[in-house]
Subunit: 340 residues, 3 copies
């Protein structure tokens, strides 16, 4: 769908200079853009590359000079670009209907405009709300609920009783609602602790490929609205993740841990069980939070066990100089005090 | 299936006080329990919450006071609760039969009471023993063997020749028997080392969602009986995991490493190749065991490279105080001996 | 297919001693070999075990003494064994044809000798080149391209527009071309950054089970020829991996990072975004490369943040002795200079 620079400026609330009638049909990277592709420039560092782009329309910071281009000036160019992309390239509405190879229980309730792909299996008492899409091989277990305008890419698995909000995106291979991992050792073997709870996924959540989110053991596992979860992330039973938090790839959140709102979690972070990560905390990549720990609101931590990043860096700096410290200590022991 | 508190006390060997005829129909968390749901209290810390539960029947430690409740007193309440749950809520026997969309080779041998779900593919010379269930999209490669009373949730993949014991549970997306990762570099490229061995999974094993267990390169990869493996765990070619060991999420076990019996492995642990983890060792979350190392029986280790946890903690404590140590060293160098 | 020791010696360029007519029908581990199975001995350490093997034909280093065996002597026995295995046991050509349950778009172009397995879904405008195999449940998204002689094991997912070279092997559960993980926070929520780029997989690449490779956000994600990627690895949007690099299990490569040629990456390594790993670098298991860092060509690094392995080991050695260093410092402070 084609728009003009002027329409886009109005939509974004950006200040336009140049040709308001310049057509815009997509978005692209600087080097790959055609004349009608929108690009963006966040800092002066990329100004040179932007000026050489074939694109005729640029979202840029105020004051950016790009002679010959139509400029939409705005304080947060990258944010505006993301918004523009969503506006220019809305997700395709799925083609409504149930593929003839899909197996849909007669007790399932399928809303208007829903698309069910080839070889999907929809079990008893499932409800799928309007305009949602279950891709090829989608498995929706008994009694699950899927809200409106969701998109389940091919090969998503929902165990029985999973509850999904509206506008949720789930990528291929993700498994939602599998049993939590809990055993009690006794009489020479592991006894399985009951894993009969639920999973609740909020509105506007996105879940990456091959991620796993376990059901609660007795209670529920809860992913708040707007949370973004990357590929291969593991969320254990009874964990709770607060609204708009972002969790990068291969992170693991252990049982009964709680993340607040707008927490940022780097890749490969390990969060032990019964931890509390307060609102707005930031966990650096590969950080490890030991069982039961609390990370305070807004704090940025790193390392295993994790500590405030500035302290970690200072300590790690001295770690690097340990061989030198040891030499200096030895010199002192040999009586060379003050002779450095 | 409904039982009474008296029957349950007998089954568990617990000492009953209260109403032996109290009906019990399920298990639940303290806050979510109805009158007929069994709950448990492990320590005095949760006594208050238990007393407020709607549940009328509690498994508790000896001496726990819960006026008005029927109490089953026993030394290990959580273990008893797990046992009770298994007794009260036995896994549903699968509905026997082969779904009309399943593709089952004419040379496959399917035992009595086996359930094969929609779109499953059972290749040549497979044997599936009595009462086992292969869920939707289950792929069972040529010549594989599945013991009795197994449960393969939807979307499990067994590569050819995989051998699975009895009462094994495998969750969605798990891949058993894929090629190991071995190459030899020469003549400017990587040559694939043959990956033609086998995988053997013992009785009563549980394998989590999207976990991967590779076949042996020439020999076999072996998972001992009663082992529990969490989501997204990776077990490499020729590894061996001893009986009743427990491996938490996202751990990786490299080629030819051996774990003893009842080893406990935390989340995101990395075990290098050719390591030996002796019986009963405990590896803390994110610990790293370098290639070829041995962890002694019963030892608890942490860190990368891993060391006994008490030593790691002491060392890490000093790591935290490194900036202070460095200051003190500097003061000494400036001649301020003894003037602290 | 049966060969003789003499034929194999010629193929490998090995020097034969013993019976050139000795038949060879397979390869095996020392302990499991039959008389016609080829074995190999890399060092004198395994000579004893080799001499006890039932195998009659051994690839060995020059000068290895194995009375009664036919020996193929060559400088790199393991490499020669891998080459021999490939020669003796060529991958079975797939049975050409499309399974009647596969759903193949009328606009897809399927080459000669291609095999499409049960329940595969091939979308519009896909091209699959000659002799390639798409296993059961293979999902090939719209507009994707698969080169010649590829093998996609059951349950591989290619998102739309994925491009795969020749002789590529992809294991079960791998997801290629899923959306990258990029958001911009603003106005109280995360906005999805457009993920509309591509993925390009080079010739002779192998990708492990349940691995995920994201498409570029605006540009492309590129895996060079001959790269080997283990199970559960994550490669993020716009990353580039150079030729013949090897990436062990559960490693994560963040957005826009670049790996050179023949880089060796251990298991569970985390590479931050915008990193540069130059040719031939080696990253030890669990190493962490912080955002934007460069690892120089040929360097071996370890730890988080990663540093040259020799330095890391020296520093870690002193870390281990920190309690002792602290004691010595205290003694000095108490005036005991030189009295060690």
């Amino acid at each position: 769908m084609k728009h003009t620079a002027g329409e886009l400026a109005t939509y974004l609330g950006a200040s336009l200079s140049g040709d308001a009638r310049a057509p815009i049909s997509g978005v692209a990277a600087l080097e790959m853009a055609g004349a009608e592709d929108l690009i963006y420039v966040e800092t002066a560092r990329h100004l040179e590359r932007a000026s050489q782009s074939a694109s005729k329309c640029v979202i840029a910071y105020s004051g950016a000079e790009l002679p010959g281009k139509t400029i939409l000036a705005i304080p947060s160019p990258k944010l505006a670009f993301a918004k523009a992309a969503e506006w220019l390239l809305p997700a395709l509405a799925p083609v409504p209907g149930t593929h003839p190879t899909a197996i849909v229980s007669s007790t399932a309730r399928i809303g208007r405009g829903v698309s069910v792909g080839p070889y999907a299996v929809i079990e008893d008492d499932v409800e799928i709300s309007e305009r949602s899409e279950v891709g090829a091989y989608g498995y929706v277990g008994r009694g699950s609920f899927i809200g409106a305008s969701c998109r389940l890419f091919p090969r998503v698995t929902l165990y029985p009783g999973t509850r999904i909000g509206n506008r949720v995106i789930i990528h291929s291979g993700a498994v939602i609602g599998g049993d939590g991992f809990g055993y009690v050792f006794g009489e020479g073997r592991q006894w399985k602790f009951p894993q009969i709870g639920t999973v609740q996924i909020g509105d506007d959540v996105e879940i990456g490929a091959n991620a796993t989110i376990a059901r609660g053991s007795l209670g529920s596992t809860e992913i708040g609205k707007g949370v973004k979860i990357d590929n291969l992330v593991h969320v254990a039973h009874n964990a709770r993740v607060g609204e708009h938090s972002v969790i990068a790839a291969q992170t693991g959140i252990s049982g009964s841990s709680t993340l607040g709102k707008q927490v940022i979690v780097g890749g490969q972070v390990g969060i032990g069980d019964h931890c509390t990560i307060e609102d707005g905390a930031v966990l650096g990549g590969q950080a490890g939070i030991p069982t039961g720990k609390t990370i305070r609101a807004g704090q940025t931590v790193w390392g295993t066990p994790a500590r405030p990043v500035e302290r970690f860096k200072e300590q790690y700096g001295w770690f690097s100089r340990l061989p030198d410290l040891a030499k200096r200590l030895k010199r002192l022991e040999q009586g060379n005090v003050g002779q450095k």
